[in-house]
Amino acid sequence: MRIRHVRILATALVALLVVLSAPQIKAAPTTIVSLDFPSWMWSEPGVGEYFNDAIAEFERENPSIKIRRTTIPAGEWEDRMIVTLASGQAPDVLKLFTNNVPFFVDRGLLEPLNRWLDNAPFKNRLIGVQKVAVRDGKVYGVALTASPHGFLYNKKLLDAAGVRVPTTPAELFEAARAVKARTGQFGYAFASDPSDVLQAYIALMQWTIGNGTDFSREGKPNCNDPKVVESLEWMKRLLDADLAPRGTTVATFRRMFWEGQLAMIIDGPWTMTYVRDRNAPLYSSIGFAPVPLAMREAGSITGGAFYTIPRVSKSKEQAWKWIELINREKWQRRWLEELVQIPGTVVRPSEKFLKDNQWISTLNELAAKQKSGFGYAAPGFEKFGPEFRRIVIDHWAQVLAGRQPVKPAMDACQAALERWAATLPK
């Protein structure tokens, strides 16, 4: 009698497990191409529909291929992708941030695309940043978009404050002061919350690269370079004068900007799209200019993305079909004209479009003039980006908390980085 009970129990357990596993079994037929996109792409205005429409067309043309989307928040993208690839579970089409591409190429995780790209109709139309994905003649990705950061400003607030668009840090400071004094709104903002290490680092990059320097030089740490210190001191001055809000996350200041409560930021073109979609009346009052730092157009850092195919993908041919479809003129034009973003291939916009969105020409100029040094880790340390950034922000957080002035903090940072760099494998 007891054995019977045990058998019933065991069967129930097994049945439970089978039932729970069933969805997995059903979902694995071989014609599925899985496309991994970061979730910002879905919730960003317009982009969600864009991809839905493109996927619908793709599935119509390729009835044997189904596209499965997965989404991951932008902030976890890098870690999540590394872990996913390490677990041998790569998606078939992998969208990578531009600055992650070297990391993945270095580790041999991406499939060279030459055999398809050489015969592709769009191969000569790809934008300049494409060269990031080229290594020793092999091409590891196709540019999806380039998003150089620019200087976004609210004309109405600047006019109310009686200032012109700033072109130097000093002018920026004075403009912010005037905005605060005459309108009560914040003049400038950047990611001043150190808990999001990557965003805080990007804010520092905007100013240091904008001033023609960086946190590393010739493969060695460069934190206490006078230009780095000067850039960071400007940022601290803005905080201390309460012209930029402290403890601000990037989501907060973007929202403040499109709600018209913030006069100036350095950010990517996606924020323009947000303004247009969340607060349309404000759209015509927003300007997009080169950053008011020493390097101007050449000083903007880049976001952007690439399509890549992981080496472990089992549906590479099908994955390429997607890349081919999305690079057709129709979809590239829609990316530009509907989403106001720079597509991966060069598209000539219509006159009307340029008139309605004058800032796009500035955007194109920035994209053309920027250097290709953009990594979210200092050049030479791309493989160890997360740690490098952490060390820098650990010390910057001391400045943000008012515990140390910039120069001693950066000296300490330099020492820490040098000690750390010495432990790295060659």
């Binding site: 007891r2 045990v6 129990l9 065991a10 357990l13 870690d79 590394i82 872990v83 690839l85 390490a86 580790r107 995780l109 001043s192 919350d193 150190p194 808990s195 999001d196 290490v197 809000p245 402290r246 403890g247 601000t248 907060t252 160890f384 997360p386 740690e387 952490r390 922000i393 650990d394 010390h395 957080a397 001391q398 943000l400 908390a401 008012g402 515990r403």
Partner: protein
């Protein structure tokens, strides 16, 4: 045990034993094995390094720092959670009228998921728009805006506060049970002898609570030592590593810096510390129990 009962016992306990062995014990052993290797997540294959992960561990600045942070965090959380739990238990025990509802309400923080607690506290402690800064500024004794999560000096206290908020119900439930287990005759006898409330408290209540307090301290300490999700979501270990406990460091080492072998070494070190602590703790409480009145 008869032979057939032995077989029965084996069958009944088998599923639990198998599940725990596969899902918990095997990974632990694997983890110990991993700590002897240098394992980058992607790229070159693992390389045997023996005990060098551990040898360098003690020397490492970040390990030492994380150890200090863990001590501070654990001490602060245990003290705060025990203190609040004690206060709650004493008051609940005395307030007969409010007790039924109050007991359920005051248990809520325990039930609330960690993620929710972190989000709510982060919002209340927000620098610009948080309600705590607003309330403090009303008293006039505090500067207008305090960066609770932005300052390396204050962030640890914020994290301790959230943890204590989550942990005090456990302490209060157990201490309350302990209070209600103290025999009434002791108090009556003391009353007859003319003892004051304070003397009753000191000579009856406190010793009576000792066994349960020992358990509470142990549980609170073990939980604090292991806590990672709460801290990681709230501050990510920062600012400036001020809230980077050993468990947070292990996670960063493994999943942000991708040095799995070294992460496993830190985890093994943590496990060793926990085991040693528990051992000494039991020794200590056994010894004092024997000498108790």
């Amino acid at each position: 045990m008869t032979a057939s009962s032995q077989r029965l016992a084996l069958i009944l306990i088998a599923p639990a034993a198998i599940l725990i062995s596969v899902v918990l014990f095997y990974p632990i052993l694997h983890g110990v094995w991993m700590s002897l290797y240098d394992i980058p997540l992607l790229g070159p294959p693992p390389k045997f390094v023996g005990l060098s992960n551990f040898a360098t561990l003690v020397m490492r600045e970040d390990f030492q720092h994380a150890f200090r942070v863990t001590l501070g965090y654990t001490a602060g959380t245990v003290a705060a959670a025990f203190g609040i739990g004690f206060l709650v238990a004493i008051l609940l025990n005395a307030a007969i009228f409010a007790r039924p509802i109050a007991r359920k309400l005051l248990l809520l923080p325990w039930a609330i998921p960690e993620v929710v607690a972190v989000l709510v506290f982060a919002w209340m402690l927000d620098f610009q728009f948080g309600v705590l800064n607003y309330l403090l500024s009303l008293t006039g004794y505090f500067p207008p805006k305090i960066g609770w999560l932005l300052s390396p000096d204050l962030a640890p206290y914020a994290v301790i506060a959230v943890t204590a908020w989550k942990d005090y119900p456990l302490a209060s439930v157990m201490i309350l049970a302990g209070l209600q287990g103290i025999p009434l005759e002791l108090y009556e006898a003391a009353r007859v002898d003319g003892a004051t409330s304070f003397q009753e408290f000191r000579h009856i209540t406190m010793p009576g609570l000792r066994p349960i307090s020992a358990v509470v301290f142990l549980l609170l300490t073990l939980y604090s030592f292991k806590r990672v999700a709460l801290i990681y979501i709230m501050t990510g270990g920062g600012p400036s590593r001020s809230t980077e406990t050993l468990s947070v460091l292990t996670y960063l080492e493994g999943f942000k810096f991708f040095r799995m072998g070294s992460a496993a070494a830190i985890g093994v070190a943590m496990l060793a510390v926990t085991l040693v602590f528990t051992l000494f703790y039991y020794r200590f409480t056994m010894a004092t129990a024997e000498t108790a009145p």
